[in-house]
């Protein structure tokens, strides 16, 4: 049985969703278009509103403004039990007084299916998540990873219009997390279902998603593929949230069409692409884009070595350029060579790898 043959997976559309909790505005007008069959991730720090958005989609909260559509249907105020957007809770929310079978069968029994049909579907779901033979166990007799699988099976078996995952890996240890991550991806591909995934872990988001929405204090900062988000961040927040990166405040001192010269400390970087209005900017450079040997079309900055950190498969050189610290990351020991703290060092950066963004107002 293939799930998407049986049920119709829908597009999910959020339009200007606003949510207030007392005086605080948790969501300040969220608009998102989630495509059919896509694994869509909402990524952001805690308190950014991602879980609230997910609970609104699940029907466990109602927005104070805006609309929610499944396909063409306005489902903004449809109660959770009629919505068909099934949530896998962060803590799995398995019922401890029911066996694995009863947990998974719960939603089917509500649909008044025949016993035979229920048994077949539960069997199918447990097979899908590789827990066949665990029917009679109780949740407390399962490991964290197994509990997670049961929670997913319980959600999938009712053939949801969209599957919602709230930080599904946060309660697992590091090794299991990687395993479950690819497991979720496998199931999603196999069934071709629409999945909305919430996490605060940018690495997890990049590895698993078709598209990511980066959220911050109740707004969506950027939506795009993992590559777009990582390589072309559109805001300072997105740039700094997506992994370790150098974010250096600077001033535009010369403009020439789309190209500008910026200045920080006593350093001047010319020929950088920037179309923003503000002259207060940040210069964003990924550590792995910084070379310690001269390359073509590169700007160079000379400072002193502050620290050298050895991580095994890569090395980070932290340089001090006046008051500004920059991290360069290299996988080549040879490039680091005999560098030592307090010695002078030169960072080379290809102009194409430098992103100039307007500085965010605090």
């Amino acid at each position: 049985m293939v799930l998407h043959e049986v049920i119709e997976m829908v597009e999910v559309k959020l339009q200007d969703i606003v949510k207030r909790f007392g005086e605080t505005v948790a969501l300040k007008g969220i608009s998102l278009d989630i495509k059919h069959g896509e694994l869509f991730t909402m990524l952001g720090p805690s308190g950014c509103g991602k879980s609230t958005t997910l609970r609104i989609i699940a029907g466990l909260e109602y927005p104070d403004g805006g609309k929610l559509y499944f396909g063409d249907q306005d489902v903004t105020y449809l109660p959770s039990h009629q919505k068909g957007a099934v949530l896998v809770f962060q803590n799995y929310a398995l019922w401890p007084h029911m066996s694995v079978f009863d947990n998974v069968a719960y939603g089917l029994r509500l649909k008044k299916m025949s016993k035979d049909e229920i048994r077949k579907k539960v069997e199918w779901a447990l097979e899908l998540i590789k827990l066949k033979g665990f029917e009679d166990r109780y949740p407390t007799q399962l490991s964290g990873g197994q509990q997670q699988r049961v929670a997913i099976a319980r959600a999938l078996v009712v053939e949801p219009k969209v599957l919602l995952l709230d930080e599904p890996l946060s309660n697992l240890d590091a090794k299991l997390r990687l395993e479950m991550r690819s497991e979720i991806r496998r199931i999603q591909r196999e069934l071709g279902i629409t999945v909305i995934y919430v996490t605060h872990d940018q690495e997890e988001a990049m590895a698993i998603s078709d598209r990511i929405a980066v959220m911050n204090v109740g707004t969506v900062e950027q939506v795009g593929t993992p590559k777009e988000i990582y390589e072309s961040p559109r805001t300072e927040f997105v740039a700094s949230f997506m992994g370790k990166t150098n974010v250096i405040p600077a001033k535009v001192v010369e403009r020439d069409g789309d190209h500008v010269t910026v200045e920080f400390e006593s350093f001047r970087l010319d020929g950088l692409h920037y179309t923003g209005k503000s002259d207060n900017v940040v210069v964003v450079v990924r550590p792995e884009r910084i070379r310690l040997k001269p390359t073509e079309n590169a700007v160079s900055l000379t400072g002193t070595v502050d620290l050298i950190e050895y991580y095994g498969f890569f090395v980070e050189v932290i340089g001090l350029f006046g008051e500004v610290r920059m991290i360069a990351r290299t996988i080549s020991d040879r490039e680091v060579g005999s560098l030592k703290p307090m010695q002078p060092v030169t960072f080379y950066i290809n102009r194409g790898d430098i992103i100039v963004l307007p500085k965010e107002q605090l």
Binding site: H81, N91, A93
Partner: protein, 615 residues
Amino acid sequence: MAVNKWVERFFGTPLPDGVVMTSFLFPLLYLLVFLVIPVLVMLLTAFVYNGHVSLYWFKSIFGSPYYFNPLHPSGFLVQLIPYGNQQIYLFSGWDFGVVINSILVSISVMILTTILGVSFAFVMARYDFPGKNIVRILLFVPLLVTPFVNVVVVQKMFLPNGLINWIFYQHLHLLPHPIWIEGLVGVIVAQSMTYYPIVYLNAYASFINIDPSLEEQAENLGSRGFHLFRTVTFPLALPGIAAGAALVGIFSLEDLAAPIVFQGSAIAKKLMSFQIYSSFVSGFAIGNPQMAALALVMLTIALIIFLTIRWYVGMKQYAMLSKGGRWKPRVAKPRPLQAAIIYLLVIPTLLITIFPQIGVILLAFSKRWYGTWPEGFTLSHMGSLLTQPDILRVIENSLLYSTVAIFIILLLSLTASYAAGRFKKARLAPILDSLATIPIAVPGIVIAMSYFFFFSTVPPFKGTALDPTNLLAFFPGAALILAYSIRRLPFAARSISAGIQQVHVSLEEAAINLGAGRWKALTSILIPMILLNLLGGAMLSFVYCMSETSVGITLGSINSTWYPITAKMKELITSAVGSANLAAALGVFLMLVQILAIVLANVITKQRYSFIGLT
């Protein structure tokens, strides 16, 4: 359908939801009709004099030295008086007037129970000594509630020829003269011995719940012994201890058993609870607005204690600040001096405090008890439990009333805990939460009196079976069931809301999200998960209903066909000599019911339940 702001504000759910609204409205209306309005109706009469709003009745209380005499107390605390051919110390107590007497008794009982409860709790929580398991079982004994008869035994213990003098005067020669305790001091001693387990249980739980690393850190920094206790342990346990002591203060204020037993010495009658009670039973004084005013004074004091402790405990929620996780409590072997204190002071004191319950059993199986010890073994009193029709009748009555009451209590506490615990943002949630706990602070005698006023004057109850003045049709059972359900609600609600708090809300949300309605989520997820708490709450309420005193001996004693057990017990101990033994037999019966309930609760729920000894 769109979000309804009004529904969201009052019920916490944006969309109108029948289950949630019923869960709010049923307990709210019930408490309004059977607690708030009756008390208000009674209290209003206290403000009316000659058809005008007036403070006359309050002035009549505070202007009369009988009720309020702070400056020139009469009586004595202790006096050496001749007794036969020797001299004895007679303890009686000063008389500052009814209102101040009640407050002083209450404060004294709080202090004594705190000393007893905290000492026992600290020893049990922190020391491991040979015989500890026996002490643990012994500490269970004073938790058993035996209305009136335990006070009868306390009275006998402190007579000139009683047990205390037998030990400390005759055999240990620690007293220069025998002692005789009666009057207000008698009430204080009896109440302290009855109520200290409440402080003990609270203090024990507090000591056990202190994160050991907090004490270890203090030791690590150089603190030890009493300094450690004074600076770290005691302050951390204080909110729990204070909560226990406050409960004791309220119970002391409303207690009727001790003043009734000690009423032989006139000063023991000069307590607020007894004054209101005696106006009630003397009949012609019912409806006296002065008593309504006195009831208001008593209720105000109880509410002040209650609200102060709620505010204080709410402010000091740090006892639970430590990160979760189980830890091994700090238990040490006592050093020689500590062992000496445990064996020579703490355990003997414990033995004395459990003697009333043992005495009740002795009384039930003996023919007479005039001297130090009872005499003449007999089974006739216990046999009467099974054969004497009026005794059988009261047992049947109490079982009937209590059983009906626990169903109402469970329904009330389930709906109230669910509504107030799950929909905290609702405006009605804090109101419901307060209303469901406030019966703790409403003295039973106040409820009895309120019901009398309310049911006899306010339609549609006037003239029905609830109207006590409707002599032919009045059915006390109905009034008792209502009173039980209000008075015992907080205890069951506490057990049940603790259960609901342990069930993460996501478990219900998951069910709703998978297609279950609210009702289905409630019946298939929440209720099965808190079944043990429901059972525990049911046992607790049942035991408390069976031993309820204040309403039982007032509204419940209007018609002897419908007496509950406690009304019969009160009748027996205040009537002819010798019938105290039969009352004690009923006390033994109540003890058996309690032991059975506790054992059942422990076996079924595999959790530790204990009862907190109240009447």
